[in-house]
Assembly symmetry: C2
Homo-oligomer: 340 residues x 2
């Protein structure tokens, strides 16, 4: 409520225009990349138009990054594993973007302290860009705009993009439409847990890494490896040419981390040789098109003034059996198509 009559928004730092944002992203300005991600995550209509323009221009400058989905239950050691893997990726001369789970929005089983220390080492590296995803209300730590964020990071020239998700099923199926390789992290001795986790996650994994396989845990980790290998044999092959492996790893001793990275690199080489890499990118674009379209369509529908006006009433009448779901749906559809 400023007395000058100027809207309060104008007192903030001025918003950069599309040219400035895109130029910044392409030039490797990490702050500009961050601001662009914030822009695409915004719900405001004026931001959405601008976000759209930024995305369009960035898509023209996309590079062929390697996109990796890393998933696992809370407590499986995802962030320390990503730190260790990130070190090896950077050491091999590549740059890395991590779309991490926002510690403030995830259900923590660890301590607040543990959260604050997430990927501390990696955050300090100039070759790495770490972005917590705004996953509010979205399951599994995946943001509704994760795919768009990948597009921005590719324009910024990151060689490898890691998308972290919590293994709750739905998010993995979604992430599978965006990434090239999915790595499932499991704790030693979690073979019993296999009965508890959603099978779908194991079915879409391209490799499994058993974390924290060091010290007293080594014996039980080796046992788990055998169990997971047996379980993988019973699942249908995801790709006929790809043998899914189970790795014993430790972020502490760096055991197995290089092997995991080599496995991922082998996979990418394989699909490039087979011409499947470009095909995967096209499939990813197509699923993005229809996801965005469905999102726009539902938004158009549920923000339509007549629909908004009638919706609660119709739902109430359907629940009290005054109106059938068929007539209820038709009432809302008619309101939608009548005037716009």
């Amino acid at each position: 409520m400023s007395s000058s009559g100027m809207p309060p928004g104008n007192t903030r730092r001025s918003e950069p225009d599309v040219d400035t944002i895109v130029g910044g992203i392409l030039g490797g300005d990490r702050l500009m990349l961050s601001r662009a991600i914030t822009l695409i995550e915004s719900q405001k209509p004026e931001h959405q138009q601008k976000a759209h323009e930024v995305l369009d221009r960035c898509l023209k400058h996309k590079t062929d990054s390697i996109r990796i989905g890393i998933t696992g239950s809370p407590g499986a050691g995802k962030s320390t594993f990503i730190e260790a893997l990130g070190e090896i990726i950077i050491r091999s001369g590549l740059s890395l973007a991590v779309l991490a789970i926002d510690p403030s929005s995830r259900q923590t089983r660890g301590s607040i302290l543990g959260d604050k220390a997430r990927m501390e080492k990696l955050s300090g590296r100039k070759e790495a860009f770490i972005r917590p995803t705004a996953s509010s209300g979205h399951l599994g730590g995946l943001s509704p705009k994760t795919h768009e964020t990948i597009v921005l990071c590719e324009a910024a020239g990151y060689d490898v993009i890691i998308v972290e998700t919590v293994g709750v099923g739905q998010s993995e199926v979604e992430v599978d439409t965006m990434v090239d390789f999915i790595l499932l992290l499991m704790l030693p001795g979690s073979g019993d847990e296999l009965q508890g986790i959603k099978r779908g996650i194991m079915e879409i994994a391209d490799a499994i890494a058993i974390t924290k396989s060091d010290g007293a845990q080594e014996g039980i980790a080796a046992l788990s490896k055998t169990e997971f290998e047996a379980a993988l044999r019973m699942l249908p092959a995801k790709y006929p040419f790809w043998h899914r492996q189970v790795f014993l790893t430790s972020a502490l001793t760096e055991k197995g981390i290089t092997e995991v990275w080599e496995n991922i690199s082998d996979f990418i080489r394989e699909i490039r040789n087979k011409g499947m890499f470009e095909e995967k990118r096209r499939e990813q674009l197509k699923s993005l098109l229809y996801r965005v379209l469905e999102e726009m369509l539902k938004k158009e529908f549920f923000t339509h003034p007549e629909v908004t006006r009638l919706k609660e009433d119709v739902e109430h009448q359907v629940l009290s059996a005054e109106l059938s779901p068929f007539s209820g749906a038709e009432t809302l559809m008619k309101a939608f198509t009548r005037l716009r």
Copy 2:
């Protein structure tokens, strides 16, 4: 192509009007019920309007039937189990409608002969109505109109409605929004298969029946029972008050079938006592409202002349990277909202 100039459709038997159809359904005319189901499954616009009226009127006459989803892999013995269970239901004085998987549309692992004999005994009973679902293109044997078919069968006064699905995951999640109780059928010795089936199915099961537990199979069936019980203990409870049981059954000797029916009846009594039955019905209506609405909205969109005209072109441009998925989606949305 008739030379009289009369459309060929007019040479068929005349279509009954809404009053006749609804009167027939309420009066227990099975032929009329069948024709009404065919009507709601029809894609023709003039049929859809009529189907809508029939459904609206039928919904007013719905009875409180018991809705059971029965699921299991191909070969698990679903149809013989349903026959045996159906016998017991009818013997207890209740009538039964079965929305069965259409043998012509399912991927058979058995023989054609085995298919032809499906539910032969039950088909001959006047208390039973068996309807194969037209599941063309829809996964798991569930028709897109299964929920609507349930509404018609309830108006016809059937006390129990069984919906048969193949355990492929998606169909079970869908059927869970329509039925009161889900029974999972498993073969003896299929404990290993547990690694292979989608976990989601076991998570939504309210009981498991091990089929074909007779003769030489009894020993291995008992072993499987222990395995499934262990697996169920590791899954989160679906209802805090309900202990999920595993039954040893045989359609041949009728072993365990009565126990399964008593288990289902106990469950229905429990949720009625807790006031959850009505709540479930309301939730089912609500999910039907939004499913129908989404269906209508997508249909409205994808049959819109401008969208139809542009869609292929936009998809092509997106796949060849001439157009971004965001601009592509917007192009189609603009075409949709511009004129109608």
